[in-house]
Symmetry: C2
Amino acid sequence: MVTIRDIASLAGVSRTTVSRVLNGSGYVSEQARKRVMEVIEETGYVPSEQAKALRTKKSNVIGVILPKISTETASRVADGIDTVLNREGYQMILANAKLKVEKEIEQLKLLESRRVDGIILLATNKEDRLLKAIESLSVPVVALGQDLPSISSVIYDDYHAAREMTEAILKKGRNRIGFIGVYESDHAVGVLRKQGYLDALEAEGKTPEEGWIQKGDFTAESGYRAMKSIWESADRKPDAVFAVTDRLAVGALEYLRAIGVKTPEETAVAGIGNSEISKYVTPSLSTVDYNNEEAGMRTAELLLERLNSSGENREKIVMGYRLLIRDSLR
Amino acid sequence: MVTIRDIASLAGVSRTTVSRVLNGSGYVSEQARKRVMEVIEETGYVPSEQAKALRTKKSNVIGVILPKISTETASRVADGIDTVLNREGYQMILANAKLKVEKEIEQLKLLESRRVDGIILLATNKEDRLLKAIESLSVPVVALGQDLPSISSVIYDDYHAAREMTEAILKKGRNRIGFIGVYESDHAVGVLRKQGYLDALEAEGKTPEEGWIQKGDFTAESGYRAMKSIWESADRKPDAVFAVTDRLAVGALEYLRAIGVKTPEETAVAGIGNSEISKYVTPSLSTVDYNNEEAGMRTAELLLERLNSSGENREKIVMGYRLLIRDSLR
DNA sequence: CTGTTAGCGCCTTCAG
DNA sequence: CTGAAGGCGCTAACAG
């Protein structure tokens, strides 16, 4: 591999001069610059960002920790992050947390060892050991998706989104609304969305019946099972079901179809996420669009700002959302 | 940032000794090891992979160039790649080619400047300048998705997949099969799949009618428009349509529904890719499963083998596929 | 078992 | 306008 040294000697100048033409810093005679450029061209020399980073203590790489790689949400977010990063001259190193806290922490450390300039964490929990791990890090971290105390974050308005969707269902005259949630370690999805649902009901003086509230695990299959549990355990059958995720909702839709319940006539269904399938299932699924790409962009911008300002102040951005009422809710 | 030097002096040993306990290389007395470990623990020292890489000329980072980040195929492949890379102690730096050749080349160079150990390219074309760029690179590259001469690659069996799906359609007694393809710069998708379709027809002595063959650009909307063109320009209406992509097929499905043509009764539809929507549209879409995750894994393995063997021999792996005949084809 | 020495490829004072 | 010298954090001979 050809180095700056080779270029220097081939061009008959010092390494310093080569460095200067490379970075456009300081004065270099037109003649010298030309010689150097020629040699670079001939040799196909590519400066090592690695060595540069060691010297300048800036790698221009940002680490991104995803809960799972092949997920619609994650890839939309990654797309948004990449847009901003690419524009600002950064590259992105991806790390997979596989939905496990330990893995999340492990990846944080791995990224720190790579000396990335900053880390974006798509968080799925707010566990103490995670917060501790972040604090002990010497690399700036911003979170997306969960409101982590002590660091800047971009979050979705889970509570209001869920509440508004539930209200929209109520407004259609539906009174017996079931709910499919997830485990509560995921605070944003497991707790906030559920609270939004509960509060919307309570505001109308309604109480969900025993058995109307079930849990899944983000898969369509679990949505199917949850819907089945609701149906079989409830005395009065619900006339609507709100799932915290489109996949769960699609699973619910499938169960209803399987037992011959008409959607939306008998039982309406709604989800959150505006996944691509939501548009193409029959009936098309009512859902909430979170604009993940934009969220990714905002998060990247937040991180970059932090890198350039050296300020320690924490910032919190709450993303807006958009209700999409489609055929599954009439 | 604490360095190996700090650890050494705090532990009262030399940097070499610290390095040795870090890498488990050479002999270190139990006593010294313990002292060092303690100090590392206390200080929260994290060795710089960056400096290590500069010295060892191995970064343990692999670059992955995707045509687009938020794509089902890309993210499945990335998932597979990550599985293998993670298992073998590598990390993945993602680069977005935005479906442009120049950007593809630019990313190759950028990754080279980062001194990644190898590059995986999800290729969408076989243009000469791309091949040239790859050859001038001093980093091993393997391709996925296109059969690039001169480098190792993992490819899908596009020709046979398309041909077999077309044959499956013919076997259902459909005789007038339309086709929605894409531009030919994407050799695998644009040329090979089309050839499979044409050859299957020809083997049965059939010739597609003028207007039955249209092009789209990977979006559902373009599939819709292509289907419309087929419908409006053909004298005899097709009784089946084969699209080279699920999204195109879904667009076609939408058009047919819009004009009140029954699927599959009047006109059957098939795609390729086994996208998630294919399972949930109505009627469910017949398609070909390419097992992208496995392809990603194989590609990563191919690259790692190449890194460890220092051999220059090129290898070509052809992935298998699986026909999924669903409701859209009866 | 341990330390000394020498660089990996680059940038950055500091003197010319 | 240009070069020499030093060092970023780490590992790899090579002597002890």
